[in-house]
Structures are given as structure tokens and as C-alpha cells.
């Protein structure tokens, strides 16, 4: 088994003239990988690029051992890729079951398996009781869980989650962490968040980016070690995070 699930080589990405990700070379190992950074750091752009929703401006991405050069590569990778965007779009008149089934069809999950994998994903996010509820009638937290359900459908080997815990109450966040641990048994999970405690709870490794450039990569323990007396934050991890943001940008 290869040691990395995701690799970017000199990846540059952006909209218009402004680059948002600058020359990023990164290896994401199997397991749960956290993506931290202030607003506008480029986390969402990086995840959208890894999800193959936007093509890199320059550089290369290798997902699940396949270099994504064209649409065919992208579609092949997407068979094994689940993505929860930050702004999760859904068809409001579909029921939860219909919507997840629709996503399974978009993912080309074989018809014979659809019923089983859809039910499994819905149960995994604890939406079994709402399976026949229309998406428009779900609460914010339930919608987020439905989004996670479509991202972990079937034989997904790479799960990209952009702010997955927004809108979840504390109990749901705990359940979410359990779910991520469970999913990480079979898939690499890349998790973008503002919440340092989520990263500490579930991530094996993490990347902090600021202004499109990496400022820290390592384990949560290594981030804690960066914590210093002067840094702001209530926990060691938060102090490590602020320290990482303010020290010289690290070459990775």
C-alpha cells in the first residue's frame, strides 16, 4: 500500500490574477489529515482542487496513486472520492434517501449495491429516522450529516470534508468524531476546519496554511510542542496554532 493518498507537486491555484495556493508541494498520508488556517488562507480552494472540482492553474496533483491530468483521470478518481463542500448544495424536494441515492448514481455506484450503501451511509450519520424526510425540512445539523453521508458513500477511499462540523451541536460533533475514526479505517480523510479541538481529537497529521502557503505540517503533538508562553489560546494546541501562524513560514 502506498504511503500517501494525496500528493501535490508545485500546485498553484487561484481565481483571476490572484494566486490563492502558491506552489504547494504536499504529501497527505493515509489516516485523518487536518487542514487548518485562518479565513481566506486557501483551505477551501485546496479542497476543491483535490476534489477535482477545479483544475490546477499549474503543478500536479496525484490522488490515490493516479496523476490527475484530464477529465478521464478526474472521473476515475471520483469513483473513490467523497467530497463535502463548505456550501453544501442539495435538491430540497428530494428525501434524504432519494438524495443519497442520487449521489450514489452520480458516483456510479452499481445499482445492485445502491440500496445497501445508501442505507449504510444514512445509518452511519444517524439519519435513519429522517430517511423519508425531504431535505428542505432538515435542520442545519441534519443537513450537514446528510452531506457527510453522501461523502462517505460506498467504497470511498478518499474523503474531503470542508468544515463538516459547522452547525453540529456538541453531541453531534462527538458522534461525528466517532464516525471519522470509523471511516478512517477504510479511507483517508482530509478535514478542513476552524476548530482546533476537532483536529486534536481525530487527526493523525495536519497542515496549517496561511495566504496559500504552508506554515506548519506535522502531528497534533508536534503542534502542541510549538506552544510558547507568549502565544494566544486557551489550550496548548491553540497556542501551538497561533505560534505556527506567526513564526517564519516553514518549507515543507
Amino acid at each position: 500500500m502506498p504511503t500517501t493518498a494525496v500528493r501535490t507537486i508545485n500546485l498553484t491555484q487561484g481565481y483571476g490574477e490572484t494566486p490563492i495556493i502558491k506552489n504547494l508541494t504536499l504529501d497527505i498520508p493515509h489516516g485523518v489529515f487536518g487542514l487548518l488556517g485562518p479565513n481566506g488562507a486557501g483551505k477551501t480552494t485546496l479542497l476543491r482542487t483535490l476534489a477535482t472540482a477545479i483544475a490546477p492553474r499549474s503543478g500536479e496533483i496525484v490522488l490515490l496513486d493516479r496523476t490527475v491530468k484530464n477529465d478521464r483521470d478526474a472521473r476515475e478518481v471520483r469513483r473513490h472520492l467523497g467530497y463535502l463542500p463548505q456550501e453544501f448544495g442539495y435538491h430540497p424536494n428530494f428525501t434524504v434517501h432519494e438524495f443519497i441515492s442520487y449521489c450514489a448514481w452520480l458516483r456510479r455506484i452499481p445499482s445492485a449495491l445502491t440500496r445497501e450503501v445508501v442505507t449504510e451511509a444514512i445509518m452511519a450519520v444517524d439519519l435513519g429516522a429522517q430517511a423519508k424526510t425531504k431535505m428542505k425540512n432538515l435542520s442545519g445539523g441534519m443537513l450537514r450529516r446528510a452531506g457527510i453521508a453522501q461523502a462517505i458513500l460506498g467504497g470511498t477511499r478518499l474523503v474531503l470534508l470542508d468544515e463538516p462540523t459547522v452547525g453540529l451541536d456538541p453531541e453531534q460533533r462527538l458522534a461525528f468524531r466517532d464516525l471519522i475514526r470509523k471511516v478512517s479505517g477504510r479511507a483517508t480523510v482530509v478535514l478542513s476546519t476552524h476548530l482546533v479541538e476537532d483536529v486534536a481529537a481525530v487527526c493523525d497529521n495536519l497542515l496549517i496554511i496561511a495566504d496559500g502557503e504552508p506554515v506548519f505540517t506535522g502531528s497534533p503533538r508536534e503542534l502542541r510542542d510549538l506552544s510558547s508562553e507568549g502565544a494566544r489560546g486557551d489550550t496548548e494546541l491553540e497556542r501551538g496554532y497561533t505560534a505556527a501562524l506567526h513564526r517564519d513560514k516553514a518549507g515543507i
Binding site: R48, A51, T52, A53, I54, A55, N70, D71, A74, R75, R78, R79, L81, Y83, P85, E87, G89, Y90, H91, P92, N93, F94, E98, S101, Y102, C103, W105, L106, R107, R108, S111, T114
Partner: protein, 413 residues
């Protein structure tokens, strides 16, 4: 695939439109049921007109609304990260919209079939007209879908409705209004409309969501070119209908010494036509020599002899057939004086024809005909002369009519 189709069928906004649109098409269809209920081609045209004009405007608007769901839900990323190419996603969505959109046409066709099959000569709705109707529905659905996909604004639905209103009503290029038995769909015109429908589907596919991160405009440009080419083809293909190949008259009935012949499709109107002819023969028997054959335009009379061709009019009744017969008869009596005839010489002949026409029509009606039905060349004095003539004894009236006929036949007055 079946599962996804069922989901799309359950959640399509067309689900709310299909019943009112079907009812609307039935209301439009049955508003003038007596004008098509016994002639297959006329029923066929009324079916497609009823199901594709007003209902199709709503259909186009709902197709646009339906296609906009991706904008409304901000769900483009679902498609952008899909394993399936965008066209597959659009084709499932579009085919459900098309399926629903064709229901009003199917309902109107079924209803008319049930009405007509008891009353008309054996046959059925004409496939060529049904294909025109299907092409019109596919065209407006494809157009609406394209507009909805391309425009995220709420104005897309009314815009799609208007875009369909234009070809359906303003220029009426997609379906005809009347299906006279002596006309058939022009194969070139049908091909052009089928091509346009296909191009509109291609347009909807091209403007649908794409799952490629590299946006390409080649497909969209090609689809726009295909639509432009098919519109051009449609314009050069000519009118939707063309005269049918002349056929030997078969649906005939004899009255006095005259055979009254209609197109086989008009056979259900033969009794009315025969009665109308009998009526006119009765009025003219001592005035003119009636033609041996009175036949619908486009028919070839079997026995030769003098033939009076009657224009075929959709929804023709006893009264309209009689009016047409009188009109044609009076024109046939007119001598052809050639282009050298001056206006001064021609005017009295035209006036005589107009008087004879009004006299015959009024005599058949049993009262003076309403002025709006008079020939445009009939003067006020001429109309008064006819009124006075109608008050004379029958023999005097016939004498007056013979005088008019003499004037009509005199080239060098």
C-alpha cells in the same frame, strides 16, 4: 437507472403542471369539437395545436424552472465532482421533463381518437401530424431547459415561455392550424422540425451542468450552430403543409345528374355536401347547366365531363360547403376574357357575378344574405337590385339571373 428515473419522476415540477396542461389542451380541443370530429387529418391538427400552443408555453417555462434547480440549490459542485459526465445527468433530467411534457399531447390525441373513430371513415390520427406535435414539444422543452441551465436569474422561466410563444403563436412555424384533407405534411418541413427538436435537445445538453473542471465552450458553440442551421433549414423547407398528390375520387354520391365527390377522409361530410349541392342545383336548374362533377380540390374525377373543384376547408359544414359551391360555380360561369380586357369592361361582369352570388346564397338561405358575406365587388345598388329581385316571382328571378350570366359571359360589352 430505473431508481434515478423514478426519483426524477416523483420530484419533477412537471408533476404539478401535467394535469392542468392536459386539461387546458382538452378545453382548447373541445371548444370547436364539431369542426374536426369526423375528419382524421383535421382532428390530428387540432390535437397538436391544442396540446402545443398555450400548454407548450407553460411547458417551456416549467422546463426552464426545472433546469434551474441546480442554480437554486447551489448544487453545481455535486455535478462538478460527479463520476458521470454532465450530459448523462442532464439527459435523465431532460427525459423526465420530456415524458411529462408529452402527456398533454397524448391525452388530447387519445380523447380525439375516441371521438373521431366512431364518426369518421376508418383510419387514425395522422402520424406525420403527431410527429410535428412531438417535435414542437421537444423543441420547447429543449429550449426551456437550455434557458434555465444558462440563466440563473428568476426571469429564465418567463423568458422561456416567451421564447416558445414566439414560434408557436407569433410566427406559427412549428405546427399548422388546420388539417384540410387535401393537404399533407411536407416531408422537408417535418424533417426540418425534427432536426430543430434534436438541435434543441443538444442545446439543453450542452448548456447543462458539466462535470469537467476544464470548462469547454466547444459543445455549446456547436449546439448553437446546430440550432441556427436547423432554423435556416426550417425557413428554406417551405410551408408545413403541401397539396396531396391528386387521387381518383372515390367517396362520391350522385344528386340529379351530378356526382358529388369528397376526399376519402371527408367521407363523413358527404351527405351534407350532397344536400348542399342538391339545394344549389334546385335553385339553378333552369338558369345554368350544372357541372357533371362537383369534387373536392385535388381529386381527379373518374368519368371526366365538366368538373367543378371546391376548395377544401377545415371544419366545413353544410352552409360553408354551399357557400363555396356557389362561389366556385359563379366564377366558373365567368368567361375568361384574357389580360386585354379593360377595367371598364370587366367591372360590369364582376358586378354581375357578385349579384348572382348574393342572389343564389340569399335564395338558398330564404332571406337576404348578411352584407358581410357579399362579394367585395358588390355595390350598394347591386345589393338593392338583388333584394328587389328576391321579391319577384320565381320565373322573373330566373330571368334576371340569366341576364346576369349573359353579362358575365360577354367579353366585348
Amino acid at each position: 437507472m430505473t431508481r434515478i428515473l423514478l426519483i426524477e419522476i416523483r420530484r419533477s415540477p412537471f408533476l404539478w403542471l401535467v394535469v392542468p396542461a392536459s386539461l387546458l389542451s382538452l378545453v382548447i380541443l373541445f371548444r370547436e369539437v364539431e369542426s374536426w370530429q369526423n375528419v382524421w387529418p383535421e382532428a390530428s391538427v387540432r390535437v397538436i395545436a391544442a396540446a402545443t400552443q398555450l400548454p407548450a408555453v407553460a411547458i417551456a417555462a416549467v422546463a426552464a424552472w426545472s433546469a434551474q434547480r441546480i442554480h437554486r440549490a447551489s448544487a453545481s459542485q455535486l455535478v462538478q465532482t460527479s463520476t458521470r459526465p454532465g450530459w448523462q445527468i442532464t439527459i435523465v433530467h431532460l427525459s423526465v421533463s420530456l415524458g411529462y411534457a408529452l402527456i398533454p399531447l397524448a391525452v388530447a390525441a387519445l380523447a380525439s381518437y375516441l371521438i373521431v373513430h366512431d364518426k369518421a371513415a376508418p383510419g387514425g390520427l395522422w402520424l406525420s401530424y403527431m410527429l410535428l406535435g412531438i417535435a414542437a414539444v421537444v423543441t420547447v422543452v429543449g429550449l426551456g431547459h437550455s434557458i434555465g441551465s444558462a440563466i440563473s436569474n428568476r426571469l429564465a422561466a418567463p423568458l422561456a415561455g416567451f421564447a416558445s410563444f414566439f414560434p408557436l403563436f407569433i410566427v406559427s412555424i412549428l405546427v399548422p392550424f388546420f388539417g384540410e384533407a387535401n393537404k399533407a405534411v411536407s416531408p422537408a418541413a417535418l424533417a426540418a422540425r425534427l432536426l430543430l427538436a434534436g438541435a434543441c435537445v443538444a442545446l439543453a445538453l450542452a448548456f447543462g451542468p458539466v462535470s469537467s473542471p476544464r470548462r469547454s465552450y466547444g459543445g455549446r458553440i456547436s449546439a448553437c450552430v446546430a440550432v441556427a442551421v436547423s432554423v435556416l433549414f426550417l425557413l428554406v423547407a417551405g410551408p408545413i403543409q403541401q397539396p396531396r398528390q391528386p387521387v381518383l375520387a372515390s367517396a362520391c354520391q350522385r344528386v340529379a345528374a351530378t356526382d358529388v365527390c369528397l376526399w376519402p377522409e371527408n367521407a363523413a361530410r358527404l351527405t351534407e355536401a350532397t344536400n348542399a349541392t342538391k339545394n344549389v342545383i334546385g335553385l339553378t336548374q333552369r338558369v345554368i347547366r350544372f357541372p357533371q362533377v362537383v369534387a373536392d380540390e385535388g381529386l381527379v374525377a373518374e368519368n371526366g365531363g365538366s368538373v367543378l373543384q371546391i376548395p377544401v376547408v377545415a371544419g366545413a359544414t353544410y352552409e360553408s360547403y354551399r357557400s363555396l359551391l356557389i362561389f366556385q360555380l359563379t366564377w366558373q360561369i365567368m368567361a375568361d376574357c384574357g389580360p386585354s380586357e379593360t377595367e371598364a369592361h370587366g367591372r360590369p361582369r364582376m358586378q354581375a357575378r357578385a349579384k348572382l352570388d348574393t342572389w343564389l346564397s340569399s335564395a338558398a338561405l330564404g332571406r337576404m344574405q348578411d352584407q358581410e358575406w357579399d362579394s367585395v365587388s358588390l355595390t350598394e345598388a347591386g345589393r338593392n337590385e338583388v333584394r328587389q329581385t328576391l321579391g319577384l316571382p320565381q320565373a322573373a328571378q330566373e330571368e334576371w339571373a340569366r341576364k346576369q350570366i349573359a353579362v358575365m359571359g360577354r367579353c366585348n360589352a
